[in-house]
Subunit: 266 residues, 2 copies
Amino acid sequence: MLFDVMNQNDSPEYLERKRFFDSLLTIFGRKPVLEALQDNSVDLHRLHLAKSNRNDGIVEEIIQLANARGAEIVYHDRQGLSRISKNAKQDQGVAADLICQAYGNYKDFLANPPRSNYQLLAVDSITNPQNLGMIIRSVCAGFVDGLIIPEKGCAKLDALVIKASTGTLFRTRILRCKQLHRCLEDFRQNDQHPADVYGLSSHANAQLKDVPSDTANIFVLGNETHGVSDVVSERCNKMLAIPMNNQVESLNVAVTASLIAFRGQI
Amino acid sequence: MLFDVMNQNDSPEYLERKRFFDSLLTIFGRKPVLEALQDNSVDLHRLHLAKSNRNDGIVEEIIQLANARGAEIVYHDRQGLSRISKNAKQDQGVAADLICQAYGNYKDFLANPPRSNYQLLAVDSITNPQNLGMIIRSVCAGFVDGLIIPEKGCAKLDALVIKASTGTLFRTRILRCKQLHRCLEDFRQNDQHPADVYGLSSHANAQLKDVPSDTANIFVLGNETHGVSDVVSERCNKMLAIPMNNQVESLNVAVTASLIAFRGQI
């Protein structure tokens, strides 16, 4: 909230703090939080607990891991905790703000991409957490530079997604944006590091393998049933298909993601 | 059973009947059977119904579709039906023998492969039906010639697999075998159309992209947790890895399947 109000302020201190808070990923639920803290590569900013928790084995273990990291532990009433977890039904009285170095706003990436011919994936309304987790896993393992996830319309980065990502979520460069179509517009219009934007569609004539790999490219994966939305399609330079045999109509979206993430490497 | 006893008989009539029975895939459950019969490319040999079925809407619809195909309908007591479905708990009083032209014994394939440099996938103990269904979908859509599935150790080709395959199971060339290691041995030792056999393993030094595509190859995918079994590994010419970044330990097995199925096409 603070940062929305201060939006006009762009002092270096402000920007650095904003970048820090943008890198925080809040997860919830006893098992997901425990598993995240058991991963040594995961940094903890703050642990949030409901005062009403009975300190059973798993909560004790979480507290120990938080203490070992020297992280702040904050106690809340149930209502306060649910404001943080944004999921009172499933938080089980536990939430954690993780510091994910690779998690941030897309604008930071665009200002300073890791290479001129950066390759990104973007998801437009992927609602199945298993698919989103598998996409994250393939992006992390593969040869693309990150995954753009809009705040609305996609599965939340919750326990199911973390599990399907086999924990790779914490190491994957995730670029957050509010609305995907505006973010893609920013990438296309950028003066210094513009990208071409491609939507995947089984009905397209152009093919994935026709896209040059020496230019910056963003590949947009659409909803499991409806494909890429109209408002996003309008921002695409071109729609692309992957050739298929036996009259198969489409590939699983996570499979499509992996074919893009490993393009030229297999 | 009949055909096991007659195993020494190889008259042309016998072989033709054997090939026909090998091509039958028995599925069960009201919705899976209905959906299969709604697919015009699926041929029905026999519909099996429990005498105890109340003929509600969905059973009526199944009977109509069977009649439209001129297929035989056989009524059984519950026990008789469960001997056919092999799954009394989930058959819901309905089973169907489908004629899948692309479903058969691996020996027929080996005697007459569609090209000299045929490419096959094989599954060794894939137990998650979603993974098996996704693998089937990628094999069907991709650029390999079929999928070897052993009778034991893998998820059964049931409603969950059919759903995850999005119905492509009925169009995918499935090569059945009893024991995978013996089947792979047959492929390697074959005089006329021998294949090289590769097991996928994230610990391997050799890489998928080093495998030539102008030779006949079989790629074996191992269990989701334990990888390729020892008895199968011993039959592999070599183990192969797919290069991965960010210390990711492994890819989802269905993703690995699709990277192989689309090798050289993306």
